[in-house]
């Protein structure tokens, strides 16, 4: 028996003393002490105070805390009674996906209890043991100032973020994110918090081979273990071919996998799923499964995949749902068609050619690039290589599912609830009305939860066993079995004249999609479709080919392919400016698009179909460039006191999209409740970025109703209506606009009902704050309560409910420019990012403080991609750094000392209240800005990620 004090209360536990303290705390109900790293002592989600000192509870043995005092994050205050620290974190906007926000709140509380006036260095030190992926650390410094001010003056003195649109009460104002109190206080929020006590556990046996047939699986010993419920293999699972991308149906991705395949295509691929009554039993059973593999030669790079006679990752027959080529039979005759291969099904042609390991391809352009290059004063040509990068959400992939009265209930941490439902429907054979997907709060997605990576298997396991089943990825599985950022080889040829005019651009992009084709076309396509439209250039051409390989899978990642295309193009542009002797800034200003410029290049850049040719809409690009250049003092040479350190500056212009015009679709339903409050049900999936808050704010301003009288229910497939999901920067624009439509429709119904009840013309009715209708003619006033009470009285006209549906062909494109100042040690190759400025046109920032945090978060993340992050595979295709420490994510130590996010004020005509997207675009600028700054500092072009000291030394000629 172990006795200790937890949050001031004496507790005793009958627990094995060699178990971890966190396990004991979970027994006590302190579930906000979470685990993000499987006891690596890295992420800090498991932080508690042990006798007043922050420690990782996963690294403390239960038996060591006898007689100790333990304090956990949930002790700080509940969502109705927040502490000063918790409130300041919310107000500063840092409570985003928030999986470890309670732990961060605990650390900040500890800091202030020990030092009421902490310096910036002290804040940095306190947060040095916690990994923040979503918001970066910059606004934590602001939160510290807010705490100081609140404690000292009883109110905040500092500006939290600039505010926009003074005529509105909610939109553009700094207001707490609606889910922030729940998240920061550590209340139930995530999938793991909703697991039933009788739940079974599932683990997955994964392939040790990069490429092999699974000829035989003997599960008899495993199945003989008590507690084992079911073992699912390729030999007893549904014969359904699909793929994992959560995209609009029919998808521009080949269907090329089953739940479990008879051929494994990467180290970590699924071989068997084991369901048992306890996790320990499931793991023990996994170890007893005997598999007979037939290893095959593998390919790991696009160069290997495209080589003549390369092993084929998919060697089964190809099928088409539509648009099959006439010679398909002839084509299939060249494939092995081995039953173990399965088959590849294209919903429509994507220019795939599995005989050459090509999953998809696209080619196109405008004008005549060859002529442009021939006539140019200078031409540069270079290849830029990007690395394989993991999303590293704090909450690893998890799913809990159960059967209830013949329906499959799925608790999912997903960006795409409706696509989860559809794909699980395909796998189980259940119709969609028999499946209920409940999106909980999402502890970090960044694109990885746009793929259906665990819900298919978990849902099927519950369906097949009738039991509640929990599946939770280990951190290692996040690396080896999830989607990652596609490694790409971006070849750019660019020509220009001495006056700085760019005359021709050619991009050849070869992308590595890994073993499966989820997002094969769309992610790499963004490397062209979200970069070439930055340029006012009449001659542009692209060749895009996506290859299958046997690396860990690739998929959606914040920014899609844009960061990689931007890296290639903006580096090449800087190289061209250098070659022509033109100032890079002047070249940018001469060549960027402006409002009204017709983007002919988009015609060939649709997602598997012809793209929309539109003109440039609202555009804050020029202002971002000019303001950023002023801030960083472009053209001024900085010198270091140490001759080994050289300082340079660089920047890149950037763009993204706001959803997919003509493809995306969102819905919302607004209801006036019986007391005059409003519930708005949205199909949207808030993944921590504040989408629910956006929906509440636009509803508030349209209905003239205070925020506290509006509740948003989202991501629940039973109660909401279809939404394509949170990806491609669609949330604010599509789901936000759907809420605008629903709220506007409800407003019209309320006005109509008020006119009816007052026996006046609806034209004389107007909405007034706070939630009432005023007659401009008679001065009569009806509150929302009066209106709904009468309308639902039994003799009235019924409940006031208004749906809103939004589709569009309009494109609201966010623009921006990111700037870096770096110091490079020419002796050791070390790089320090001294300054990083992110300037972005996000239209109307509906949640300004959250917008800044997302810019900071994405920028720091992409600094990590540029300088540190890289999944390394050995010669067998095994990822050798599948843990947080060796992988190398940026934390507070890596954050630039001078880090600024600036919102460029642009009012977009199509966005909800003028808003555009904010977060994805912020991933696009760091690589070229830093790459160009490194060149400015020491004269070398680093043409591959990550830009390591070793690569810099090699380019400097210090090593060969």
């Amino acid at each position: 028996m172990i006795s200790c004090t937890i949050n001031g209360k004496k507790r005793s536990f009958d627990i094995d003393p060699t178990k971890r303290l966190r396990e004991m705390l979970l027994m006590n109900g302190n579930f906000a002490v979470r685990d993000s790293d499987d006891a690596e002592g890295f992420c800090g989600s498991d932080t508690v105070l042990l006798d007043g000192t922050p420690v990782f509870s996963n690294l403390v043995l239960a038996g060591e805390v006898e007689g100790c005092e333990i304090r956990t994050p949930d002790s700080l205050g509940d969502s109705m009674h927040l502490s000063v620290v918790q409130q300041a974190l919310i107000d500063a906007g840092v409570v985003q996906s928030a999986y470890n926000a309670p732990a961060a709140a605990l650390l900040m509380t500890w800091l202030f209890e020990n030092d009421p006036e902490p310096s910036r260095e002290a804040v940095k030190d306190a947060l040095s043991g916690i990994f923040i992926r979503d918001a970066s650390y910059e606004q934590y410094y602001l939160a510290a100032e807010l705490i100081k001010e609140k404690n000292k003056y009883g109110e905040y003195k500092s500006e939290i973020a600039p505010e926009f649109r003074p005529h509105l009460k909610a939109v553009g104002k700094n207001m707490p994110k609606v889910d922030a109190p729940q998240l920061v206080s550590g209340e139930r929020a995530f999938v793991e918090d909703y697991v039933d006590s009788d739940t079974c556990y599932m683990v997955v046996l994964r392939s040790p081979y990069a490429h092999a047939y699974v000829n035989k699986i003997d599960t008899s010993k495993a199945e003989a273990l008590p507690g084992v419920i079911k073992i699912i293999t390729a030999y007893n699972c549904p014969d359904v071919t699909y793929m994992s991308a959560g995209q609009g149906n029919p998808e521009p991705s080949p269907h090329d996998r089953k739940l479990l395949n008879k051929k494994v295509r990467h180290v970590g691929d699924r071989v068997a799923a084991i369901v048992a009554e306890t996790l320990e039993e499931a793991i023990k059973a996994r170890d007893l499964i005997e598999v007979e593999y037939e290893p095959l030669p593998a390919v790991f790079t696009v160069e290997e995949a495209m080589a003549e006679g390369a092993p084929l990752v998919h060697n089964g027959y190809v099928e088409y749902n539509a648009g099959a080529p006439d010679d398909l039979d002839e084509y299939n005759a060249k494939l092995s068609g081995d039953e173990r291969e399965g088959h590849v099904l294209y919903q429509f042609p994507l220019n795939g050619d599995v005989l050459h390991n090509v999953a998809a391809a696209n080619h196109g352009g405008i004008g005549d690039v060859d002529k442009a290059f021939a006539e140019a004063d200078a031409v540069v040509e270079a290849t830029y290589q990007t690395s394989q990068i993991q999303h590293t959400p704090l909450e690893t992939h998890i799913c809990f599912s159960k059967m209830e009265n013949g329906r499959l209930i799925i608790y999912a941490s997903t960006q795409v609830p409706y696509h989860v439902r559809r794909i699980v429907s395909w796998v189980t054979g259940l119709s969609e009305n028999k499946i209920h997907v409940i999106k909980t709060r999402v502890g970090g997605g960044y694109g990885s939860k746009q793929d259906i990576l665990v819900e298919d298997l978990t849902g099927y396991a519950s369906f097949a066993t009738g039991r509640p089943v929990l599946y939770h990825n280990t951190r290692e599985e996040e690396f080896i079995a999830n989607s990652t950022r596609h490694p790409m080889r971006v070849h750019v040829k660019m020509g220009g004249n001495k006056d700085g005019q760019i005359t021709g651009i050619y991009m050849k992009v070869d992308a590595n999609t890994g073993p499966y084709g989820n997002h094969a076309l769309t992610v790499p396509m963004n490397s062209c479709s979200k970069t070439l439209p930055l340029f006012k250039c009449d001659n542009m051409k692209y060749d895009l080919t996506i290859y299958y390989t046997n690396t860990p899978p690739a998929g959606a990642y914040q920014g899609y392919g844009t960061p990689k295309g931007t890296y290639g193009l903006m580096m090449a542009m800087c190289e061209l400016a250098d070659k022509l002797g033109v100032d890079y800034k002047e070249m940018v200003l001469k060549n960027h698009v402006e409002e009204g410029y017709m983007l002919e290049i988009l015609k060939g850049l649709g997602e598997g179909r012809e793209g929309n040719v539109v003109s440039v809409g609202s555009c804050g690009l020029r202002e971002a460039v000019e303001k950023g250049c002023e801030m960083i003092e472009w053209g001024k040479r900085e010198e270091s006191d140490d001759p080994d350190w050289k300082i340079g500056k660089g920047f890149a212009m950037i763009m993204q999209g706001s959803g997919l015009p003509g493809l995306d679709h969102a819905n919302a339903i607004a209801k006036l409740e019986m007391d005059g409050s409003v519930i708005i049900t949205s199909g949207a999936a808030d993944i921590g970025t504040g989408l629910d808050t956006i929906i509440a704010k636009v509803t508030s301003d349209i209905l003239c109703l205070p925020m506290n009288l509006i509740t948003v229910i989202s991501g629940d497939t039973d109660s909401g209506a279809f939404d394509t999901g949170s990806y491609a920067s669609s949330g604010t624009f599509f789901s936000g606009n759907a809420a605008v439509v629903a709220a506007t429709n409800l407003k019209e119904k309320i006005l109509d009902e008020a006119g009816y009840q007052l026996e006046e013309s609806v034209e004389d009715m107007e909405l007034r704050w706070p939630g009432e209708v005023h007659s401009k003619k008679t001065g009569e006033v009806l509150s929302f309560y009066d209106i709904i009470h009468t309308s639902t009285s039994g003799t009235g006209r019924g409940h006031l409910i208004a749906p809103g549906s939004f589709t569009t062909t309009a494109a609201s494109v966010p623009y921006g420019a990111h700037f870096a100042q770096v110091a490079v040690n020419i002796k050791t190759g070390e790089v320090k990012v001294q300054k990083f400025y992110a300037l972005q046109d996000a239209g109307t920032p509906i949640n300004p403080e959250a917008a800044l945090c997302q810019m900071y978060g994405a920028a720091l993340k992409s600094i990590g991609h540029t300088l540190y992050e890289d999944m390394k595979l050995d010669e067998n295709g095994t990822c050798v750094n599948a843990n947080m420490t060796d992988y190398g994510v940026p934390m507070i130590s890596e954050q630039p000392d001078d880090f600024k996010a600036v919102l460029i004020d642009v009012d977009d005509p199509d966005g909800p209240f003028g808003a555009k997207s904010i977060s994805e675009i912020a991933c696009n600028g760091a690589a070229p800005a830093i790459g160009n700054a490194i060149h400015d500092a020491c004269g070398v072009w680093i043409r591959s990620w990550p830009m390591t000291p070793e690569k810099i030394l090699r380019e400097l000629g210090k090593i060969k």
């Binding site: 060699t18 690294l59 040095s128 070793e950």
Partner: protein
Amino acid sequence: MARELIIAKTVAEAVAAKTGSATFVAGGTEVNRLGSPNDADVLISLKRCSGLSDISTDSGYVTIGSMCTFQQLVESAETPEYLREAALFMASRTKRNMATIGGNIASLRSDSYLIPTLMAVGAVLEMAGKDGSSNRIGIAEYVDGNEVGSLIVSVTIPSEAKVVSKRYANTAQSHAVLTMSASLSEEGIWLDGAVKNVGLLHFCDLEKAFRDDPDISEEKIIEMVRSCTGLHTADDMFGSDEYKRYLIAVTAYDLHKRLTGKEA
């Protein structure tokens, strides 16, 4: 998976409990972490062991109890600056609150935070014997494999020494590819390092080169390390063989320059 936890209250208790299948647990950041090589049946926790967390100064030497955490080293006024600097190489404050000097030495990691510095100043370890005796050995001797598995009671180092160090890692929290420390004594420079996946090294050839010719050129040092057959670096995820050798050379040269005041 350990089957038993023993909470030792004294050094004698801890030592007595140490059998072949048992291991000591100090701060827990090494033994309890993901991927730890530890597979002991019995864990002997030292957290309640009396007398292992003190720092004291006597006759120009500082004696640090083996259970002193990195953060204690950072905060104690008695900690020599050169050791404080090495302790701060561990970037995570939360981890510094847990990890101990004794644990860091005993784990003998090839990316050790502290051992290069402790080797450079010739730290002396007090070891507790099974029979209740104690003996003192130099840290280099411990690193060579003597007394590994025995309980480190304390570490004694000079209060003042001319020591400089440098650590290279992908990020501040990553494992270091190279940590190198240099000290200057009457005999000349002492150079020690931790090279990831290679080990804890005493760079005597480099010391000799600097002692023989204090003005030796950087190019010569680079060439010397590049061609050194006794250095078993290799290509791995932390960098190429050539990169590591280059880094060792330029760092050694730089540390020598800083120690001897020959900085430009």
